[in-house]
Symmetry: D2
Subunit: 359 residues, 4 copies
């Protein structure tokens, strides 16, 4: 397994969806930094289910318990471990999943990889529930980054064919993301909700894209080649279940541009070097250039759908019709918005610590 990420801040995520608990250890936090637990819990609430018609009605308490690393709410230098108890554990019968893998899920490769011993209940370690520990670690990193003047926010760039206004790449409107449904444009939000409702009505699901921006980064974060900001953020963000693509700045669109269009000219503004455009997404050669860091992550549609699907019986080695029961998000993207912020915050904070080492 490799549920561990980072160099100076090492994140280790553990737990299965229906095991005793899920959690995360953060090894490498500087000492003496306050963590606001209410703020953290509020951040986690943004990914919690049961928030609207566009999400699963299932309830999760998701109360964070800190086992170590904080004394009186302040980091003490020791690894910080936080857990969330699973209240709804192994209630169902998951033997079926070992035999008949759900299309689009990790069931089949996990069955082979783990020789039939994997925890199939609720998706085990592959469950979207494991994004809660990412949010704990990322929520703490967001607080620490804010102390350094770095702010992050994400919004739904699209759901199906409904698209939000993109962030202004020069001055992303981080504080204008709506609270109840994370978009910039109310109209776009309405169109997205209709896409989700339409998919749900058909027992189907739909994908989406999340855009994330960070401002206040110093020039010089990230290391060249394999330790660049793009490499780190991509390694982290692809750890979120359902992500199938990551792009920075103009991204895939840059492949259709001319150099004269894509290059960001430099200007002096208020005695500071700035770029007039930001097709680079704030990263050149893997290193931050002081402009807003902007990236997008593509989420596939939730694989668990109510419609009948073709699968196979691994025991019988023959075709089998599969009906997936249970309540599932018709679109995972809205709840994934804080997860993308969290993932980016972890990667950026780790790079910030490394940057300080050689500053």
């Amino acid at each position: 397994m490799a549920s561990t990420f980072g160099k100076l801040l090492q994140i280790s995520v553990f737990g299965q969806s229906h095991g005793a608990a899920i959690g995360v250890t953060m090894d490498g936090l500087p000492a003496g930094l306050p963590v606001d637990m209410d703020k953290l819990q509020a951040f986690l609430a943004r990914r919690a289910p049961g928030q609207g018609a566009w999400a699963t009605p299932r309830k999760e308490a998701d109360a964070v318990e800190i086992l170590s690393g904080l004394v009186d709410g302040v980091t003490c230098g020791a690894p910080l471990t936080a857990v969330i108890r699973n209240t709804n554990t192994r209630s169902g019968d998951y033997a079926g999943l070992h035999d008949c893998p759900r299309p689009g899920h990790a069931d089949y490769p996990a069955e082979v990889k783990y020789k039939g011993a994997q925890d199939a209940a609720g998706g085990g370690h592959f469950s979207g529930r494991l994004t809660a520990p990412i949010c704990i670690a990322g929520g703490i990193c967001l607080q620490l980054l804010a102390r350094e003047g770095v702010l992050l926010a994400a919004h739904l760039a699209s759901v199906g064919s409904a698209a939000d206004t993109p962030f202004d790449p020069l001055r992303p409107e981080l504080d204008q993301v709506q609270k109840d449904f994370p978009v910039l444009s109310l109209e776009a939000g309405e169109a997205m909700r209709q896409e989700i409702a339409a998919a749900k009505a058909e027992g189907d699901s739909v994908g989406g894209v999340i855009e994330c921006a960070a401002v206040g980064l110093p020039v010089g974060l990230g290391e060249p080649m394999f330790g660049g900001m793009e490499n780190r953020i991509a390694q982290m963000v692809f750890g979120i279940p359902a992500v199938k693509g990551v792009e920075f700045g103009a991204g895939f669109g840059a492949a259709r541009l001319r150099g004269s269009q894509n290059n960001d000219p430099y200007v002096v503004e208020n005695s500071e070097i700035r770029a007039k455009t930001n097709h680079a997404g704030g990263i050149l050669g893997g290193i931050t250039n002081g402009m807003p860091l902007i990236f997008r992550a593509a989420f596939k549609p939730t694989p668990s759908i109510a419609k009948a699907q073709e699968s196979v019986s691994l025991a019988a080695m023959e075709s089998k019709n599969l009906i997936v029961h249970g309540r599932h998000d018709p679109c995972i993207a809205p709840r994934a918005v804080p997860v993308v912020e969290a993932a980016a915050a972890i990667a950026i904070y780790d790079a910030l610590l490394e940057w300080k080492a050689r500053a």
Copy 2:
């Protein structure tokens, strides 16, 4: 710096464009495996410049010298280090680059990060020339993967607005990629060459997308969360200069699909589990599912263009017009095709070694 990649096969890339030499160390190769040096040199020739109107006329010998790790052409278990001498070193005057950064290049963030001490000549460690060591390491991994029944190939998916036929995601036509210009469709190749020629005629450049496929992978490669195949390949591929996006299978397109469209139904074929479609790109939960592994990487247009560009003088802190001299590829993507194969091969071979450890 973090020019190091991998867990069981650790790749360490070194060198600057106009330094004494560039090279790579591969630490962790199993012993007793033959390396065909002619084949490796032929692989490297695919990324060499001077191959056609669409590339820079500059010549590079790129003769690989093995310093360690091979005895009589066979891996001996010790780290394998290979170097390529730079014959064209520090000939020009690069003092200007320290003062007037080229838009779209790493010049400006590198100047700040390295306190003015970075090697600006020819792009230094950020030069596209550093993809040659990636090709050495990757070319060796391609040979070792072939021994395990794993084959890889890449082609130009698009240049500007000209698009090639995509790989058949169920049976990618690896052996049908054209030798002289890496496309599947001759017509598409012609259109791409025209795009490149048009950009060049205007002193401009153009971007492109490369699609890569691997077949023959066992089910179960990759580790969940941050050690998945997507995470590893993305971390590696974003190490290639100019890459701004990476997507797997349906990628960003999956975000526009319904679950019922995107899920890949399972069937039994010749007593094997297969998926009827391959929107997953061969990866579920970060783990290979036995289907072809398919991904695309977006390359921005070459930032070095002949057109005048707006930049600044860092010393004077005022605007300055910049003319970039020298011969540059009007499109980097054609020469980057073997680099993408190499990068993927390194990431896959490292994952294969890890898989064997727990098999």
Copy 3:
């Protein structure tokens, strides 16, 4: 912090002595392997306090709770996290330790390193209590190693000036280590207990040496230079509080020998290559040679003693007499015997997994 160890099996230890819980995450265990929890609990009981006159009378329950990674007692491939609740938390007043550091403890460097924010209660993350998570991880590794035919045991080589019979380096008597007091010679054990009792009677403490042996290792474990068995075991064993020296085979004694004495001649025995002596401790060039792997670790005397000691007030920057209260082991070595076994087992199992990757 760097409470993380290993390459293919990554161990992450967390917790403070008087925090909510201590624990460990093991990331990288192969799937499908049974873990005997009773056996694990029995192993942990060997390091538990309150076992005799030579140990502290303090009681600790040390009941292991598995949060993840096991399904029905079998590894499922996901990270295994286990915790032990601290029942005796922050009861005392530890403010004094922030001002007046205990000689021989980490108090003073931790106070400076963590800017006064470290958890001083009971030694925090530096407490000997953190060896319990090492024993959880190591106890599991011991079970997995036994399935591969690898057996380990340790004994007290000395306490103060009282010395046990050393292991036979060719055939270490692993099963002859006494259960109640871990020595080979009952007489030596009696002499050690008297050393400990004498120190205790004076409100003092005494140090000791632990010898550990492993048999059944294949030839070829370990990687050269910095990944050798000596490097890995030393990196791990120095993680046990109070260890100040580690030596393999003849160790420091080899420095006094001639080459003709220290070299281990090879012979053929029952169609196997064997060494006639084992000054190498089973390791040559960092790699196992098929002979028993033998090492020793030196433990300093418990720094917490009842005698008055000279310290300083950090606030007043002046001398201060310190009396350390509480019940402490007059000799940590007896209880550290299973910890050394555990530490070695972790390092060896990690190396075994790596060996399989390239076998």
Copy 4:
């Protein structure tokens, strides 16, 4: 293989004794720091052979060539790679070593591990010659540490039964180590030379112990548990061929002491916290306490001796008498003194960078 060390400064050593070249890559050096190449070459000369009756008369040029990472003698932020050409390559016939392993060498485990494909010539990657790249990396780290006020020196603590005066643990006399033979006491040096001459006269060899001290370290270097200074230095120093033991401060001697003897009382001296004694060797809980960091490494006698030795033919699986030809150091310890300094400097500089990240 695992010839890679470090976290923020990653050292990758490559080469075989009789291959084309040996060398090292240092990834992670801060930019803008001057490296004095004459000083580096002088440092390397201290480990070069042919310096006296106590060393092999073989000559090695050991001229360092910098391939990357320096521009005009200043670190540029890119990985620094340095190589030394092997002038004396594969001249002999080493087929014999594949069949008849030398006792005390890595020959036999390497033969098995690398399936007969290892480079046996001159010891291959296991040769003491590979300490030259460690000296390159360490020599550079020594220069960088000196800029931070950290000074290191080592001396021969003993050869066979002849012992030097130890360093004063409170104020180690770093500048009093003799230039021509690295001891503090001229008499001790004479006795050591006699030990070596006596061993040589008999076609034998002898072991030794090296003591190393560092002063000027800030309080707080090192991370707890597995990232402590003891763990890091031990992991590095055991990478030097022939090292069989490492101890810090009182080391194994501490195991014979009482706590009241071993604990180092604190005092205030010139408004600074100091310890009155230094049994801890400057490290508590893995973290520097501001006192001199002191450790010793035990070197076994050179395994290559002129005397006939018992070995086996691996092909015939029968006993075989072995005569090792060639010129070998009768004692490796004198030439290993700068290597120990180098190894310690690498580990300490890496820890210093990490410390800055969270300072």
